[in-house]
Every structure is written in structure tokens, then in C-alpha cells.
């Protein structure tokens, strides 16, 4: 249990050249392009970006839960060495829960409102394990205890609406952990929660990872959450990775102008501001994915954009050791 964090074996999840498309009345357009990522046991990878950047689509595709209008148009997803995209529906269902599980943003819509918490967890256990109903029920109470649900035996017999927001999110996490998955994907797991409750859930997520050594991908728009939990970070913009680095490299020396802009735009960062001060905002808005500009998608909002940026899309390349970015700018600080 304790040697999982220094695992040097193959990554538990490896995604290469993933493309996701949406079919619309005006034809198909890409919502995620050239997505490459990998996570190892015990590692937390954060994918950060604003609405429409493709972070949630990426997460859903990793469980093959994309909405009907969206489809995976190319690429490979290896989970524990096996080709997840080549599997049939039956195999996919076996994999979900057992190998890869998801924590959704809004537990009230993700949990079944007419099933007791304990039953929902036991159902998942019985789907994947040969065990009696009684054993599955006992496992449900065990995982509820693992997520520090107060009074787990009683809570197992309650319905989702009887729990507070924080407890519902604990129940979601318990459901995800029920079959000891190797990878957990969490899509904005604390966004719907109040700040004091968010702190408890972030504490729980870090605590569980230390104990269980699960690989995690955490999707968020909140750089504060990233700063609290990430080992490595991918920044996405308009369907593509624009930067990837270790948490310290990213926060110490962000490379991409978009990342730099995001960090400057968060109010309250740095010294206490005086009323009347201005934030470093990023002018303009994200371009619609069906009408992306020809060159770098960020160029129209970028303070340092050159003629080349408007014409050619920059490759995603290693700018400093272990620090990748998609930008024509060179590292003159090095």
C-alpha cells in the first residue's frame, strides 16, 4: 500500500492523439484535438481551463460517456495497458468502476434520487465482484467510513436528498471508490460546494490518495484548487493543450501567455489590493470552436502576438526541461 507513490512502471492511463468531434447542423467540428496525457499511480494531474476549452469532454471520453452528439474521432486510450476504445460495451462496463471511476460536479444529479446511498454503492460492488448482497452492503458501509461520512451505517440507509451537499459529495466519492479503481477522474468535484465544505472535500481527496495510491485526473477551472492538489498540470485553451508542467514549474514560471493571463486575472492573489486597483484581465473572449482562427487560437487575445501567430499554429514543444507549451515565443529567460 505504501510503495505506490514511487511507481516507475507504465502509466495507468495513457492517452495519445485523442480527437473529439461534435456533430452539429453545420457539420462536424473538433472540440478536443491532439490530446496526449498520461498519469501514474499516486499522481494527481489537473486539467485546467475555462468553459468550452474541452476539459470536461476529455474527462467524459476517458469513460466513454460522451453525449450522443460527440464522438471520439481518433486516438488511443490505454487503461492499465489495455486499449479502452477498442472494447465492446460489455467490456467497457466491466472496466468502469473496476479500473476507472468518475466523480461528478453535482452529486445531486449524478446520484440516483430513488435509491438509498448504501444500495447504490452495493449495486456497483455486485456488478464487479462475486459476492453476496450482505457482503456488498458491508462494503458500502466500509467505503462510507473510508470517506469519513459521519454515522455511516445510518447514512447508508438514507436517500441523497436527505444528505447535505458535502455529505452527498462524500457519498459520490465512496461510490467511485467502491471497487478500488486504479484511476479516478474528478470533474470539478468541489465547484458546487461552499468554501468551508470545499476545504473538507479537498482534504479528503488528498488524504485518500495518500492512503490508496490511486491515479487521479482532476478537472477544474480554479487555480486555487490546482495549487492545493496537483502534481502536474495541463492548461487547455479552445480544445488544445497550451501548456503542461509540474505544479511548481507552472506556478513559478508559467510560459504560455494564456496561463500568465489566467494567473494575473484571479482577484485577491498577491498583496491586499486597494479599492480602485485594476486586475490584469485578458481582453476579448474565447473564440467559438466552430470558427477558430487560422493560427494560434489565443493570438487574437494575446498581448505578444506576432504576424506569424495569426497565420500558423505553434507546435506543442518542450520549452524547458519537463515544461511544454504551444507558443512561437522562445524562452529568452533561460
Amino acid at each position: 500500500m505504501s510503495d505506490t507513490t514511487t511507481d516507475t512502471s507504465l502509466p495507468v492511463l495513457q492517452v495519445s492523439d485523442l480527437e473529439i468531434e461534435i456533430q452539429s447542423a453545420n457539420g462536424a467540428f473538433a472540440v478536443v484535438s491532439d490530446m496526449n496525457l498520461s498519469v501514474r499511480a499516486g499522481e494527481t494531474l489537473c486539467i485546467v481551463g475555462e468553459s468550452g476549452c474541452g476539459k470536461s469532454m476529455t474527462a467524459l471520453s476517458l469513460l466513454r460517456l460522451l453525449p450522443d452528439a460527440a464522438k471520439i474521432a481518433g486516438g488511443k486510450v490505454l487503461i492499465d495497458g489495455e486499449d479502452f476504445l477498442a472494447m465492446n460495451q460489455r467490456q467497457v462496463e466491466d472496466f468502469r468502476g473496476e479500473k476507472i471511476a468518475m466523480i461528478f460536479q453535482e452529486p445531486l444529479t449524478a446520484l440516483n434520487p430513488v435509491l438509498r446511498i448504501g444500495e447504490q454503492i452495493a449495486e456497483s460492488v455486485r456488478q464487479h465482484r462475486k459476492c453476496t448482497r450482505r457482503e456488498a452492503d458491508a462494503r458500502a458501509v466500509d467505503v462510507l467510513r473510508l470517506v469519513q461520512m459521519p454515522d455511516p451505517e445510518r447514512r447508508a440507509g438514507q436517500f441523497p436528498h436527505e444528505l447535505s451537499g458535502g455529505m452527498r459529495q462524500r457519498a459520490m466519492i465512496a461510490l467511485a471508490l467502491a471497487c478500488d479503481p486504479k484511476i479516478i477522474i474528478a470533474d470539478e468535484p468541489t465547484t458546487a460546494l461552499d468554501v468551508t465544505i470545499q476545504a473538507q472535500i479537498l482534504g479528503l481527496i488528498s488524504d485518500l490518495q495518500k492512503r490508496l495510491g490511486t491515479a487521479q485526473i482532476l478537472i477544474t477551472h480554479d487555480l486555487g484548487v490546482v495549487s492545493e492538489v496537483a502534481d502536474r498540470v495541463i492548461v487547455m485553451y479552445a480544445g488544445r493543450k497550451v501548456e503542461e508542467a509540474s505544479i511548481f514549474d507552472l506556478f513559478d514560471r508559467p510560459f504560455h501567455p494564456y496561463t500568465i493571463g489566467l494567473m494575473g486575472a484571479v482577484p485577491g492573489a498577491g498583496a491586499s489590493s486597494e479599492a480602485g486597483d485594476r486586475l490584469a484581465d485578458i481582453p476579448g473572449t474565447v473564440p467559438p470552436l466552430w470558427a477558430l482562427p487560422k493560427g494560434c487560437a489565443f493570438a487574437p487575445r494575446c498581448p505578444g502576438a506576432s504576424a506569424r501567430c495569426l497565420e500558423e499554429r505553434p507546435p506543442f514543444e518542450e520549452k524547458r526541461p519537463g515544461h511544454w507549451a504551444a507558443c512561437w515565443e522562445h524562452d529568452d529567460a533561460a
Binding site: 475555462e50 468553459s51 469519513q148 461520512m149 459521519p150 447535505s164 451537499g165 458535502g166 455529505m167 462524500r170 461552499d194 468554501v195 468551508t196 465544505i197 470545499q198 476545504a199 473538507q200 479537498l202 482534504g203 479528503l204 488528498s206 488524504d207 477551472h221 480554479d222 487555480l223 486555487g224 484548487v225 495549487s227 492545493e228 496537483a230 505544479i247 511548481f248 506556478f251 493571463g261 489566467l262 494575473g264 486575472a265 484571479v266 482577484p267 485577491g268 492573489a269 491586499s272 489590493s273 479599492a275 480602485g276 486597483d277 485594476r278 486586475l279 490584469a280 484581465d281 485578458i282 481582453p283 473572449t285 474565447v286
Partner: protein, 324 residues
């Protein structure tokens, strides 16, 4: 800009209680005390933030001041005049001077109205100027909030979230109000756009001297826009202090918990958040005594029985706590 010190808006013991009814006869069996004796004042050109978590009554306070829910008790004075009864006549002249910007720019704008009609509506309702003057004012307002006046004929759904929030701000500004209640004005927006709107609000205050009552759960936003901060918990204000003082050293244990819970912005200074469950009690079953006593690390016997009053401390802040 230094705010003027005569209170423009003063609120005393504001109460909004919603009845809980049960049984076939729908008899009242209790009350949700959403706002339970809130007092504060707002000066000219000043931003006071109401901060707290869901259910603390911060939004209801804002809605009650706008007359959008009826207060069940307390006194509200605007520019020295008491607003009595919150009826139509009393509200009409008051609303010329006090406006609101809502949280969600997707649901607070009528999708069937053109932008110019949305922004013009307050001018039409209050019969300000001629039709041509109103149109000119709409163009001026659109420019002021960073929208292109040639988009005046578009519908709200043709705009992005940030642009819609600009439309909401233009509408609120139409009558040159003295106070704008901003109810979570940026929480539905992406970070990069959020910064644009916060800058706009700050510019408008500098140029027009408007006061804001800003309602927010986000301490970063509060730290950016406020002159003073009032922290609410279960329908009560537990602390009011100047922004710099409260962020330097929180007075109330709840303020301290809020600040300690905000994620760090430096990965080298991570919190070790406690994973144990510690819930906010519901507003229908409020704890006795101090509402925070069930979660407070400083709790003593008196906290469970007697509610502490909001009292002034040496450094000018007001705190409601027996042990601080």
C-alpha cells in the same frame, strides 16, 4: 477615492422570515429566519461586501433592500428618508436611486427583448426624457460598459456571458442610481472575463461615485472590490470591518474559518485541510445561542445559551463573539 462618511443607506435590524406551513390547514409551524436582525450602513462611493456561504442570508438581504422580497421587520433609511412599508409608491422613487445587477446573466435578461429595449426599460418606466433622448442614453450606456452601440438591435442570446453581464450593468446604470446591489456579479463568469467585469465595476465607481452593496461568496472578489466587509452566518452579521483589517486579522472565529478554507495560491504553502465532516446547520433549525457554536473551536458554555451581540472593538471593527 476616499468614500464620503455620511451614510447613504442605513439598515437597522432587517428581518426576512419565511413561514413554514404544514398540515391540511397549512398552519404556520415555524419560520426560516433567512435574515435575522441585520444592521449596517453604506456610504457614498463606498463598496460594502456581504460575504458568507449558501443560506447565510446575504442574497435575501440584497433582495429585501430592493423590495423584491418583503422584509418582515426592521428599518431602512435611504438618504435620510425612511422607506415605509415597501409598497409600490414608496419603492418607485427609491428604485430610481437603487438598482441591482443579478448573478446569472443568462436567466436575468429577457431573451425576447432587444438589448436596446432591455437597457431602455428603466428610462421608459420612470418617464425620463424624450424617446430620442432615451435612445441616445442607451448608446451612451452601451459605450460606457464596453459594448458596441451598433449591437443595440441584437437579442441577449447573441452575446457571451461577460457581454450579457455588461448589458445588466448598463441597465442598472440607466437611471444614474446612487447604489447598485451586485448579487454575485461575476460568479457565473470565467476567470478571464470575471476580471474584465470587476475592472468595469471599479472604473464606474471611480468615475460616477456610485456605491456598491456587493454580495459574494468569493473572498478573492471581496478582497478586490470592497472598502468594508460584513461576514454573515445563518442570517446574522458576525463581523464588520474595513477590508484591510479583516484580511490582515479576522476577528470572528467564523471569519477565520472562511479565510483558512480558501485554497492557497502557492503550491509550496498548501493547507492541510481536515477531511472530517463539519456541516453548516440548516436555517430552519438554527442552533441556540451563538449560531456558530456548533462549529466553533473557541466554544464555551455561554455560547450555547446566549447569543452574542455585535459590539465595537478597539480597532473599530464590530464582532459578535463572547470569546473574542
Amino acid at each position: 477615492m476616499q468614500p464620503d462618511r455620511t451614510p447613504l443607506l442605513s439598515v437597522e435590524n432587517l428581518e426576512v422570515h419565511f413561514p413554514i406551513r404544514a398540515g391540511v390547514l397549512q398552519r404556520q409551524v415555524g419560520a426560516v429566519k433567512a435574515v435575522d436582525g441585520v444592521s449596517f450602513s453604506l456610504n457614498r462611493g463606498e463598496t460594502l461586501s456581504l460575504v458568507g456561504e449558501s443560506g447565510c442570508g446575504k442574497s435575501t438581504t440584497g433582495l429585501a433592500l430592493m423590495g423584491l422580497v418583503k422584509p418582515t421587520g426592521g428599518r431602512v433609511q435611504f438618504d435620510g428618508q425612511e422607506i415605509r412599508g415597501f409598497n409600490r409608491a414608496a419603492l418607485k422613487s427609491y428604485r430610481r436611486r437603487m438598482q441591482i445587477v443579478f448573478q446569472d446573466p443568462f436567466s436575468s435578461l429577457n431573451p425576447r427583448q432587444r438589448v436596446k429595449d432591455i437597457i431602455r426599460a428603466p428610462l421608459d418606466i420612470h418617464n425620463v426624457g424624450t424617446s430620442a433622448e432615451r435612445d441616445a442614453r442607451v448608446a451612451e450606456l452601451m459605450e460606457r460598459v464596453g459594448l458596441r452601440p451598433d449591437q443595440a438591435d441584437n437579442f441577449a442570446h447573441q452575446f457571451s456571458g461577460g457581454q450579457r453581464q455588461r448589458i445588466g450593468i448598463a441597465r442598472a446604470l440607466a437611471l444614474n442610481p446612487d447604489v447598485i446591489v451586485c448579487d454575485e456579479p461575476v460568479s457565473a463568469l470565467d476567470v478571464s472575463v470575471q476580471a474584465q467585469i470587476l475592472n468595469l465595476l471599479s472604473d464606474l465607481q471611480r468615475d460616477l461615485g456610485v456605491s456598491y452593496l456587493a454580495i459574494s461568496h468569493d473572498l478573492g472578489v471581496v478582497e478586490f472590490i470592497s472598502h468594508r466587509v460584513a461576514v454573515m452566518y445563518l442570517g446574522k452579521i458576525v463581523e464588520i470591518a474595513p477590508k484591510a483589517a479583516i484580511f490582515a486579522a479576522p476577528g470572528h472565529p467564523y471569519t477565520e474559518l472562511l479565510m483558512r478554507s480558501a485554497p492557497s495560491r502557492d503550491p509550496r504553502k498548501r493547507h492541510s485541510f481536515s477531511a472530517s465532516n463539519d456541516d453548516i446547520p440548516s436555517a430552519t433549525k438554527k442552533p441556540s445561542g451563538c449560531p456558530f457554536h456548533t462549529r466553533c473551536p473557541l466554544v464555551t458554555a455561554v455560547c450555547k445559551t446566549t447569543e452574542p451581540a455585535l459590539t465595537a472593538r478597539d480597532d473599530g471593527r464590530l464582532v459578535a463573539c463572547h470569546n473574542r
